[in-house]
């Protein structure tokens, strides 16, 4: 029961956070002077195309861009009636993209799922790689295993993501025949799901997963190693060793479990970094996630599109953090519910 109560509490805080985040995002998007339509109107006036001006003006009132900012915000969220009554994020209306002249929902559509997919694959990659390597590095600390793991880790941290992406693409294609660009072979785009399409997506996922996951895996490996080393120097480990427990059992029985805790807690730090990384990598690799859409929208002040993408990315991170908090409580009975702040 306590757990459910805590879960409900976490859900409410998450929703409140999301509310604050939406204000922040709206403010940031409206920082540049003017908006897409007023820029367009100015341009049309300058080139003397009067009929276009009328259309842009119409869109301006249609999307309430002529109202004060706080009003625009409320309409965007769906907390105040716009020209068509209540129709905002809360009601599932994501707005209109001026740049593409299409509803935002249609532009992002599939991209949302692909974004989730890419990030999920990267998270799994991080865990699969970092767990064994971190434990190994701690168990064999100060041997060549440790040093080479540290070296690979440092290199992963230091190489800019997008360059790693380009290099891997080039060499992956040259030596292993990995496909270049995109998340699936072009012939599958817009097709319904089929085994062949799934396979195509999986093959295309290899490089992006590796690229997005590397820096996260490196950081997590280092942290796991440090945790394990702390744990391994405790008296109970010494006792077990003195009694002649087998090395593997010695490692797996208690220290690993103890070191696991921060590992789960870390997902709160990991996720924002991965989502960031995936946006950048998607732009470079031409993946059909929401990354490239965000970049074009930001550059052309296409505010509803940019706002929605940013909100989605923030939501993804917040949900991930919430799940990690809940998992942590389930894993470690020592963590008290509610007031965990010291």
């Amino acid at each position: 029961m306590m757990f459910l109560k805590y879960a409900a509490y976490r859900l409410v805080t998450m929703l409140l956070t999301l509310g604050v985040v939406s204000i922040l995002i709206f403010a940031i998007i409206n920082l540049p002077p003017g908006d897409y339509l007023s820029n367009q109107i100015a341009e049309l006036r300058a080139t003397g195309q009067a009929e276009g001006v009328a259309k842009a003006e119409f869109l301006r009132t249609e999307y309430a861009l002529d109202r004060p900012l706080w009003m625009q915000y409320l309409i965007w969220v769906g907390a105040a009636p716009g020209p068509q009554g209540f129709s905002g994020l809360l009601q599932g209306d994501f707005g209109w993209s001026f740049e593409f002249d299409q509803p935002v929902a249609e532009i992002v559509g599939d991209a949302l799922w692909l974004t989730v997919l890419v990030n999920l694959a990267a998270v799994i990659f991080v865990y699969v790689v970092a767990l064994p390597l971190g434990v190994l590095a701690a168990a064999k600390s100060e041997t060549w295993v440790d040093y080479s793991a540290a070296f690979v880790g440092y290199l992963g941290l230091a190489t800019p993501n997008f360059l790693l992406a380009l290099m891997l693409f080039y060499y992956g294609h040259k030596y292993m025949g990995l496909p270049i660009g995109g998340l699936m072979a072009p012939e599958f785009e817009g097709e319904p799901m089929s085994p062949a399409k799934v396979q195509s997506i999986l093959v295309h996922l290899i490089v992006p997963t590796f690229v997005i996951g590397t820096s996260g895996a490196a950081a997590m490996m280092q942290r796991l190693r440090a945790n394990m080393l702390d744990e391994l120097s405790k008296p109970y480990v010494e006792t077990a060793r003195a009694k002649g427990m087998s090395p593997t059992r010695l490692l797996a029985k208690y220290p690993l479990r103890m070191a696991f805790n921060p590992f789960v807690a870390d997902i709160g730090n990991l996720l924002p970094a991965m989502v960031s990384g995936s946006v950048l990598v998607s732009v470079v690799l031409g993946l059909q996630t929401i990354g490239p859409a965000l970049l074009t929208a930001l550059k052309s002040q296409d505010q509803f599109l940019a706002g929605f993408v940013l909100m989605f990315v923030a939501l993804l991170t917040l949900i991930g953090t919430m799940i990690s908090d809940l998992l942590l409580v389930l894993l470690d009975p020592r963590i008290r519910y509610g007031a965990r702040e010291g």
Partner: protein, 384 residues
């Protein structure tokens, strides 16, 4: 490891009874703290080398124009995408000092690229302390003397030339001026904000703490890069390169402070209960004084170490922003701006040297990581 007949494991490593003697047993442990720190840091070889390397790099920044044979935006129209050239010392067995072989470019109209032929019969000596393009030494002394430059009729592109025929080596040196300082300015902003908010949250507690803590949580739960993108997209496009540079570094810093603030806050929460803090308060010290004189010096060194570890993130951030075209803009030169040219697979395949700026990025980021690790390990000299 050996297994005994009864299935128990024992370690075969030789046993050294003195191994666990802690540093406390040394008789000079009452030396000043900085001496102890330095003594420990000196033993951290990797950190020491990294620190020296960074020191030299930063010291060279003001004189980058002198070392570079070309200026940042000097174009050699006949030498587009010129491959890297080597500097030789011996020509047909005879020593003639540092020289290059002249090259001539030809348009390959089949593959649409430039081909360069090296004329290995005519060694041409490099000029030393010669006159070249004008630059400002230390940022304000106008000068046109370069350490070395190309002889008449030849070029010296140590790392090749780019799409507009600009020397990659010189541009890396000029780019370092911006790429290396962006992290310093960013970290200063983040440091000031982090210490300010972290210390008032930790010291006063209560409502202030609650508000600041929520703000930290919200900022930390947002993915950095999309926010960087959004904020940099808001920088007006008519601003000059210098203004853009400053605003970008400030943006990088503004989103970095929450982590630092959290560390400061948790330290303050435990330290404010200490007797010396109570004593200072009873003697009538104002909160500002208690924070600055009694609390902060306690863990300034730790803060510096963690700041060192977060500079790389800023350098990489600037690179990513510039790479996407939202950060620094030409004519400003930074490593990210240079990599903007290497954005597609074609240039990596045909002109791999345009991606060379990634090497200094990797090296500098690694160096900051090693230095930070070394500092962190050595800042607690009383731990064995």
């Amino acid at each position: 490891m050996t297994t005994l007949p009864n299935g128990h494991y024992i370690d075969d490593a030789p046993y050294d009874p003195d191994e666990n003697l802690s540093a406390l047993d040394r008789k000079d442990m009452d030396a000043p703290a900085w001496q102890l720190v330095w003594r420990r840091f000196r033993r951290h070889k990797l950190g020491l080398i990294a620190g020296l390397f960074l020191l030299v790099s930063y010291l060279l920044l003001p004189v980058a124009g002198f070392i570079a044979p070309y200026t940042a935006n000097e174009r050699s129209a006949e030498y587009l995408y010129h491959p890297p050239q080597a500097i030789h010392l011996f020509h047909e067995g005879a020593l003639i000092g540092p020289f290059v072989y002249p090259t001539t470019g030809q348009a390959d109209l089949v593959n649409f690229r430039w081909q360069y032929e090296t004329d290995t019969d005519r060694p041409m000596r490099l000029q030393m302390f010669c006159e070249g393009g004008a630059y400002k030494l230390l940022g304000f002394i106008p000068s046109d003397t370069h350490l070395f430059c190309a002889p008449e009729g030849a070029t010296v592109f140590l790392l090749g030339s780019d799409r507009l025929g600009r020397d990659v080596f010189s541009r890396i040196l000029y780019g370092a001026q911006l790429s290396l300082t962006v992290g310093l300015i960013g970290i200063t902003v983040s440091f000031v904000l982090g210490i300010f908010f972290g210390s008032i949250a930790g010291y006063f507690g209560g409502k202030t703490d609650w508000i600041i803590n929520r703000a930290i949580e919200i900022l930390r739960s947002l993915p950095e890069l999309p926010l960087w993108l959004a904020l940099s997209a808001a920088v007006p496009s008519n601003w000059g390169p210098v203004a853009v540079f400053f605003i970008i570094s400030i943006i990088l810093g503004i989103l970095d402070w929450p982590g630092l603030a959290r560390a400061v806050r948790s330290k303050f929460l435990s330290l404010r209960e200490e007797e010396y803090v109570r004593a200072a308060e009873m003697m009538g010290a104002k909160p500002g004084r208690v924070i600055r004189r009694h609390l902060l010096p306690n863990f300034m060194s730790h803060l510096i170490a963690s700041a060192t570890l977060s500079i790389p993130a800023m350098i990489l951030g600037e690179t990513a922003l510039s790479f996407l075209g939202l950060g620094l803009r030409a004519p400003a030169v930074s490593w990210g701006v240079m990599l903007n040219d290497a954005q597609n697979l074609a240039s990596i395949e045909i002109y791999p040297w345009t991606a060379i700026p990634m090497l200094p990025i990797i090296i500098v980021v690694l160096a900051f990581n090693f230095l930070g690790d070394g500092l962190r390990d050595s800042l607690d000299p009383y731990k064995s």
